[in-house]
């Protein structure tokens, strides 16, 4: 039997390797197409010490997103963003022969956009653009059959989400079938900045840890270095979306975001120096 680490795809291998050095993982999010030169944010995120980057493919009806990412999606669509254009931008941002970002890219979008192209064509296009993983928040594990094998065959790691409401047996199934990492939704709510890390975050990550050694990233609501530090006590790392996109919507450029993410990076690094 191969060990899970060896059977894992590139995103998961990358995250496991970094985690195993004791590093807290940081996955910032950017809405693809949010500004004409949006791929500059990717380089800034990488420079700030991101371990993976989530690229949102905007959808007209983001039913699991709060106001910030709703606004970001609307803005990007108004600029003419589409799956095709964003993937073309990504391909253009890592020209052959040039140094790679060095950070795996994980796309996230709603299932309608996957179905629109068809799961096979959609995953193949992601792969061609250099994307390694995929998050689909409205595709729960019991509906995922249509996409799991197709994604795996295309070399795309399909990340599944776990929620505080998920019962334990189902959590085991999600953790087993997720690829790349397990996305732990920290609270019962939509994406968006929150004043504090929800109490449900610790309980959920504890329950996930009981059933898998796959990396676990906590997302939804994590907005400040303090929250990142606290999240790191429970999980392998954090996903930071709305806190990034609010700044972008307010006009912050790549350099500002690099500075913001560096504060989160530092918080995660400090936390990992302490005994866990």
């Amino acid at each position: 039997m191969t060990s899970p680490a060896l059977a894992a795809g590139a995103v998961e291998r990358h995250l496991r390797a970094r985690r195993d050095t004791g590093r807290g993982l940081l996955m910032p999010y950017v809405t693809g197409g949010i500004t004409p030169g949006w791929t500059d944010y990717l380089r800034a995120f990488a420079a700030a010490g991101a371990d993976a980057i989530e690229v949102g493919l905007p959808f007209s009806d983001p039913t699991l997103d709060g106001v910030t990412i709703q606004q970001a999606s609307e803005t990007a669509l108004a600029w003419g963003a589409s799956t095709r254009r964003i993937l073309a931008d990504l391909a253009g941002a890592r020209p052959p022969g040039q140094p790679d970002l060095g950070v795996p890219l994980v796309a996230s979008t709603y299932y309608n956009l996957v179905l629109h192209d068809g799961p096979e064509a959609f995953c193949a296009a992601l792969r061609r653009a250099g994307v390694g993983g995929l998050i689909v928040p409205d595709l729960p594990v019991h509906e995922a059959d249509e996409l799991t094998d197709v994604a795996a065959a295309a070399g795309i790691e399909l990340v599944l989400l776990a929620s505080p409401a998920t019962p334990q047996p189902r959590l085991a199934e999600i953790s087993g079938r997720s690829r790349g990492f397990v996305y732990a939704v920290s609270l019962m709510g939509t994406t968006g900045e929150r004043a504090a890390l929800a109490a449900s975050a610790a309980e959920l990550t504890g329950r996930i840890r009981r059933v898998t050694d796959r990396p676990v990233l906590l997302g939804f609501g994590i907005s400040t270095p303090d929250q990142a530090r606290e999240a790191r006590r429970h999980a392998d790392g954090v996903v930071v979306g709305a806190a990034v996109m609010r700044r972008v919507l307010d006009g912050a450029g790549p350099e500002d975001l690099r500075a913001f993410l560096a504060t989160l990076r530092q918080a995660l690094d400090q936390e990992c120096d302490r005994p866990r």
Partner: protein, 401 residues
Amino acid sequence: MRDVLQWREPVPLGGTMGEPRARGRFGEYGGRYAPESLVEACREVDEEFREAWADPGFRGALARLLAVHAGRPTPLTPAGRLSEALGVRLYLKREDLTHTGSHKINNVLGQALLATRMGRRRLIAETGAGQHGVATATAAALLGLEATVFMGERDIERQALNVFRMRMLGAEVVPVTTGSRTLKDATSEAMRHWVGATGDSHYCIGSVIGPDPYPWMVREFQRVIGDEARGQCAAELRTGVPDYVVACVGGGSNAAGTFAGFADTPARLVGVEAAGGAGAARGRLGVLHGCRSLFLQDDDGQITQAHSIAAGLDYPGVGPEHAHLRDLGRARYVTVTDDEAVGAAVRLARAEGIVPALESAHALAWVIRAAGDGDLPAGSTVLMTLSGRGDKDVSTLKELL
């Protein structure tokens, strides 16, 4: 405009409006495409509904509420003068005569009773025309629950009367300012709100859309329209069943409830959509608001905005069971324009003394057109569900007439 979709002959019978297949499927449509945080809540609703629907006590309590509070059964009215003019025999199933003025109350009383059975203390709802919102506010008041209703800003403007009614009934009406500011966005916002409120609130979806079990459950709660009409037709019509059964389709709940009573008869089923919101007639396969069905989309897969003078039909998709009935050829979906609907509303008012909701007027507009161009053969018997009354639309109509 001639309709592209025709029946496969002969009309396929039976078995098409029972329980969905495993995982909430109607053919390839339906399912539970809910965010993980709502999956458990959907499972609880499903479990509770199955138990309740098999429980004579629940059925009895609902039947009693429908009778003593909502005024059921509703009459079947022969439209005498209009029938004569059109050369068909038209019968109207009068959902406009229910308490609150539309079929929405049938579903809401069912879900509100279910919510109390589940120990929930609050109902969440989306509304377009405001009829589902008013029905939800009414049921909440009746059963001592709270109600929070999400409504697009644009609909708040054009359905002001219903906004006032909801507030008077004690409901909180939350304006939705995103996207098209109509039903689609109100539904998205209600779902977002539900994610954070599953512990004490029941999401009372107003049509045959949403994640499993909603499309099935809402159809079952609306089946009373079709079941009553079936019995009334048996007593009233020489042939026992009408040749045609017609209803307007927004998400498709009044049509699904009506069709359910006739799925196992040779009656031809016709769903009438707004030309600007024709999910069944023009939609493409997609996933929105928790289910796989047909939705209006652009070339990039973005959902496009619907446009209809009838706020209740201003939805870019259609319930999954309608998508399936379409594929089977068991039902046919046609469209009418805003102008045709307004014309039909006026005609019904003057010929029969009934002012219909603009949604319902769409169904009549097709009957009028089809009787005129022979799509509806002369002498056919037609049962049409008049889903609601027109009071809420008078300010819209006043601008036009």
